[in-house]
Symmetry: C2
Subunit: 423 residues, 2 copies
């Protein structure tokens, strides 16, 4: 008997995790390589960044997530290079060979070559970044309490979010609520009216991937929450505690969160395949790389046209593509023609803070509290891990009814790399 | 009218927090200085270290904790020196003067000058250390899955705890349970019988501060859980992945947790007051420093005799002493004689893992499941913050009924100091 085919999946995001799960019904050996030991529910990162959820509530152990896929093993390692011709991966845990490769390494923040901006701003793609933003926001509040004058205080309390997509809108809304509803009780003596939340967006509208009406609702809702919107303004760089825009305007930003650019994160060795500013890899309708039918690329990393545009970098796309890999491999075994990937658009959603969201489900557009309830239901269905779900519900309910945020910890200043206290 | 007296409390542990709260009924201005923005429920640190609880479940924002003390302000800063003669504190946020000073800076791990040990081992006194231990344990498991041979695997799976007091006993018991009940499901292919948990103690008994019978119960319970006990063995140093004992024995310790020594953590400037190996500061029955009636010292930092021994470094002592500061200051205002501090011993408890604890309440000794229920009730009463309490109950119940641990995240390898991903 021939040895079973070895499928190596790189990345345990929505794409890689669903590919691994779907492969369990095939007669293959699956190896899932992930540099963390957890799957991250990225859409809720902004809630960790604003202290509503704990890291463990949106991170689920990879090994537990694929427990029922008995043909799958997990390797915690970082892939440093792909050798396409040798069917080999270089990893921090040694070389790994494959018969079939599924690349699902996702995306990372894109600072468009502005290195200083990259140093000063924090993206919102990893758990570490979310915890860092939480600490930064709370540390800025502490600094503001001991500011000598109003001007210094105003500068510490300037929170700026760049990027008017769903992440930026959610983040700006969540910070505004934190400042208005939660923190006044912790800082009764601090003049929080000196605080400002600014959202920068290069286009003239928010939520450009949504219907224009929903973008306008987001504008109205954020303004009502006290967020200053600067639309049609491009970020050109940073200057001490401020962001510099294309027209020379300086916007204070003691805390600067960058959601204005994203690019695919391919391991090295694939430079010849990467295309364009977003660094994605064009794939065939079978989700494979041209001339390499044994190499699948899925999720944010894959570029496939859909209604004249590349498919968006969204969890549902990655989930469906992950499952599609198993369908293609099954067809190959049977000698059937490979089924082309067809994206089923289940809609698009964004929250704009407490009790308000916009949702677009094909021709149906929903907003306000109804949108928010839909958002809530959908995320509860999707979020991984039943215990997590129970605790997330409690956290959300607590926040909704008591305007409280449970996780207000500044964790960073005290630690060095070994987790020991610095004096 | 004379300006109100300024009382400065340093440290928001059990002592400082309770002093600040008790001072709210006095006509004084209180300033609470704490280097973190949270109060830490230290007795449950081992549960964070073994993945049962999230950091936020045992850490409560200082500002929220003293919200009802309207005469109190909070300063997040580190005290770098005390200038007793000038009634002045040097802090990372500038100089602070005081009329009355309450020092409640607690204690830290004592490595008895063994610097290499200090580099290799992790204490269990801070939240950062607990999260680091959690990551270390899980990272060792990941290393073990890719070990080339059984010997390498055994070395990675060698977990050693030094110190047979309550913290060491709780920690060893919790790791043994993690290995036996929780991790086998995540690592079905890993030979976890190669794992070892070793508890080292210099004395011939465990829990030396408890009645001997309870120490013997702890020995029996831990042995039943598979913990190797090495009693009467002193740690002399480390040697690569092992601990070296006084008789030359080497004990593998890929993961090494140090609970075998503790010393008071006085800010600098108080060297003349510090006594002995434990670095505590002897105080009068009013809890003040001789010749400095305006300087109170409470909690782990204070040394006061009780039945022939110094009072133990325990939360109830710190809590009672914190409250006593307000009583002394009240007596002074009224011109009454200062009441001497009297410790009310409410008992002593330690858990030895799932459903087992020993408790000593004066002449009453309880163990087993009843002891554990008492431990549970007491900790639920004491733990700060109502929301925390609800979430802690859920986590405990979940763990008890499903043998699961929710928080199995390795958070460290991915982050540099800015919370950004390293490749």
């Amino acid at each position: 008997m021939a040895p079973r085919q070895r499928v190596v999946v790189v990345g345990a995001g929505f794409g890689g995790l669903n590919a691994t799960k779907a492969l369990r019904s095939l007669d293959v050996e699956t190896l899932l390589i992930e540099r963390h030991n957890f799957h991250l529910f990225q859409p809720l990162l902004y809630q960790v960044a604003t202290g509503l959820l704990d890291p463990s509530q949106i991170a689920y152990p990879v090994r537990a997530a694929v427990r029922r896929a008995r043909n799958a093993r997990v390797l915690m390692a970082t892939v440093t290079a792909v050798e396409l011709d040798e069917h080999l991966l270089r990893t921090t845990a040694g070389d790994v060979s494959y018969d079939v490769l599924v690349l699902a390494t996702g995306s990372t923040s894109n600072y468009f070559g502005m290195h200083e901006l990259e140093q000063r701003a924090t993206g919102l793609k990893t758990l570490g970044e979310a915890v860092h933003i939480r600490s930064t926001i709370l540390a800025a509040l502490e600094q503001a309490t001991r500011a000598a004058d109003a001007e210094t205080r105003r500068r510490w309390l300037a929170f700026t979010v760049a990027g008017g997509g769903p992440t930026g809108v959610e983040m700006a809304g969540a910070i505004a609520e934190l400042l208005r509803h939660v923190l006044p009780r912790d800082y009764p003596r601090l003049a929080l009216e000196d605080a400002s939340v600014t959202l920068l967006e290069a286009r003239d509208q928010l939520l450009a991937t949504f219907a224009p009406r929903l973008g306008r609702i987001a504008v109205k809702t954020l303004r009502r929450k006290g967020v200053t919107l600067l639309l049609g303004r491009e970020v050109r760089g940073v200057d001490e505690g401020a962001v510099v825009l294309h027209d020379g305007t300086r916007v204070d930003a003691a805390t600067l969160i960058w959601t204005a650019g994203v690019q695919a994160a391919a391991p090295s060795g694939l430079d010849a395949l990467i295309r364009g500013r977003s660094c994605r890899i064009p794939v065939t309708p079978s989700l494979t790389v041209p001339d390499h039918p044994e190499v699948f690329v899925i999720g944010d990393l894959a570029e496939l046209p859909y209604r004249g545009e590349p498919l968006p970098m969204l969890a549902p796309v990655a989930i469906q593509q992950g499952r599609h890999v198993a369908a293609v491999l099954t067809a190959r075994r049977r000698g059937d023609p490979e089924p082309p990937f067809r994206y089923v658009d289940k809609g698009n959603m964004a929250t704009i803070g407490r009790g308000a969201a916009v949702a677009q489900l094909g021709p149906v557009h929903v907003d306000g509290f109804t949108g928010w309830l839909m958002w809530l239901a959908l995320h509860l269905v999707y979020i991984a891990g039943f215990r997590n779900r129970a605790v997330v519900i409690i956290s959300w309910a607590w926040n909704f009814f008591f305007f409280d945020r449970s996780v207000r910890l500044i964790l960073e200043p005290e630690r060095n790399s070994r987790g020991k206290e610095e004096t």
